[in-house]
Structure formats: structure tokens, C-alpha cells
């Protein structure tokens, strides 16, 4: 019973704060609510036995990316943007389309939920500890993707520097 209660509390926090993210007028408030969402999603990771991913979520997402967001929000802080209309003209249509997509996905999952009950496929990780298991998978099975991801980060870093640079010589 306890895991279910924890799951529902975490889900409620994540969803409510996600709605707050997309409805707040002030971008700084949105960033704060997004941090709450990320913590709740991190709690869901913990419930799914992904302890390393929880640490990555807190350190990298909350500590890194969201601070970057806050910096930019402060840099381009516009009083004009707070005062004008927050939603664009076609928001009714967009809302309807998104809700239809959610209904379709939810119906598909609802219809297919029986397929989840029995399986529990074998193949338990041999090593103890989530971090060790993730490291083994990352650096043994996914060696090339890790290298590509590091290259992607390098390109993104150079790109961000060039974009934010004042003038190109």
C-alpha cells in the first residue's frame, strides 16, 4: 500500500507543478515550478530502482540545466513580456489537439495493460548496485553511443559559445 501512496503523491506533485510551469506569467516562477517537477520525477526514478539516475537528475538537471535557464531568464528579463498576452491565438485548437493525443495514448495503454502483468523477463544484472550496473552497460555495451554523446556535448558547447558571442571576427 505504501508504494502506491508514494507514487500517487509524487505523480500529483509532478503533474500539478508541470501545469504551473506552463501557466505562470513570470518566467522565473516557471523555472521554480519546473525544478519541483524535476524533483518529483526524480522521486519516481527512485521508486523504479534507478538511484544513479536520481542523482543525475538532481545534480545535472536541477543543478546544471535549471541554473542555466535561470541565468538566461534573468539576462533577458523583460517587463513587457509579463504584461502582454501569455497564450497565442490558436490555443483552443492546440489544447484540443493535445488532449486528443493524450486520450489516444491513454486508451492504448489502458487496452494494453494486461500485457504487462505476467512477464518479468529474466536477465537480472549480475553486479550489485545500480551505479555499477549502469556503468557496465554504458561503457561496455554502449561504448560508441557514449563517444557520440560526448562529441555532441562538445559541439553544443562550441555552438552555445558562438551563438551567445557578441560579434564574430
Amino acid at each position: 500500500m505504501l508504494p502506491q501512496i508514494a507514487f500517487f503523491i509524487l505523480s500529483a506533485i509532478a503533474l500539478v507543478s508541470a501545469v504551473m510551469v506552463i501557466t505562470r506569467r513570470n518566467a522565473v516562477h516557471s523555472v521554480i515550478w519546473l525544478i519541483v517537477t524535476l524533483f518529483a520525477v526524480g522521486g519516481v526514478f527512485l521508486m523504479l530502482h534507478a538511484e544513479f539516475l536520481f542523482a543525475v537528475q538532481v545534480i545535472l538537471y536541477v543543478g546544471g540545466i535549471m541554473v542555466l535557464f535561470l541565468f538566461v531568464v534573468m539576462l533577458v528579463n523583460l517587463d513587457v513580456a509579463v504584461k502582454e498576452a501569455q497564450f497565442n491565438r490558436q490555443w483552443h485548437l492546440a489544447l484540443a489537439a493535445a488532449v486528443i493525443v493524450m486520450a489516444e495514448l491513454g486508451y492504448g495503454i489502458y487496452r494494453g495493460q494486461q500485457g504487462f502483468t505476467p512477464a518479468q523477463v529474466a536477465g537480472a544484472p549480475a553486479v550489485a548496485g545500480n551505479t555499477q550496473a549502469v556503468a557496465l552497460v554504458l561503457y561496455r555495451d554502449y561504448m560508441l553511443p557514449v563517444e557520440i554523446a560526448s562529441l555532441l556535448l562538445l559541439v553544443a558547447m562550441v555552438g552555445a559559445v558562438i551563438m551567445a558571442k557578441r560579434k564574430l571576427e
Partner: protein, 100 residues
């Protein structure tokens, strides 16, 4: 023990909220934040299936998704800064240089 499809419902709801944010907001920064919400929904699904199949491959993929999110945030925010310097706006409706 929580059934796997509960996590999928959570991922669906988070994804939809992110899509609504991308489609309806006018502030470019909040659109980027909605994309982060969408990526988190994907991560919830990946980790839920990793737990279901008792492997950590899904968690490895979630790490790749987080890497992508970091790269996307860095480049996107750099773009926003460059845009703000040139046009003095963060409103997506006013950024229509490519519109005929």
C-alpha cells in the same frame, strides 16, 4: 508493487502537458522548458520499462536523453540570447523573419 502502466500513464500526462506548453505559450523560454517536460516524460517511460525488464539498458538510454537535453538547453538558450540582442523580444509570435 506498482503496475508498469501506471508509470506509462504518468509519462503520457507529463508529455501532454509539455506539448500543450509548446503549442500554446508565446514566451520562447517557457517553450524550451516545456520541451524539458517532454524529455522527462520520455525518461519516465524508459526507466519504467527498464525496471519492468529487469535490465539497466533503459536507464543508459535515459542518460543519453539527459545528455541531449543539456545540449539542447545550451544551444537553445544561446539562440535566445542572440535573438534577444537583435530583436529585443522573447515572444515567439514576433519572431517571423522567415515568414513570407
Amino acid at each position: 508493487m506498482i503496475p508498469t502502466h501506471w508509470y506509462l500513464f504518468l509519462g503520457t500526462a507529463l508529455f501532454t502537458i509539455g506539448v500543450i506548453g509548446v503549442l500554446t505559450r508565446r514566451n520562447v523560454i517557457i517553450i524550451l522548458m516545456s520541451i524539458e517536460l517532454i524529455l522527462n516524460a520520455v525518461n519516465v517511460n524508459l526507466v519504467a520499462f527498464a525496471d519492468y525488464f529487469k535490465t539497466v539498458d533503459g536507464q543508459a538510454f535515459a542518460i543519453f536523453v539527459i545528455t541531449d537535453a543539456a545540449a539542447e538547453a545550451a544551444v537553445g538558450l544561446g539562440l535566445i540570447i542572440a535573438l534577444f540582442r537583435n530583436k529585443e523580444t522573447v515572444n515567439a509570435d514576433e519572431i517571423d523573419l522567415l515568414k513570407w
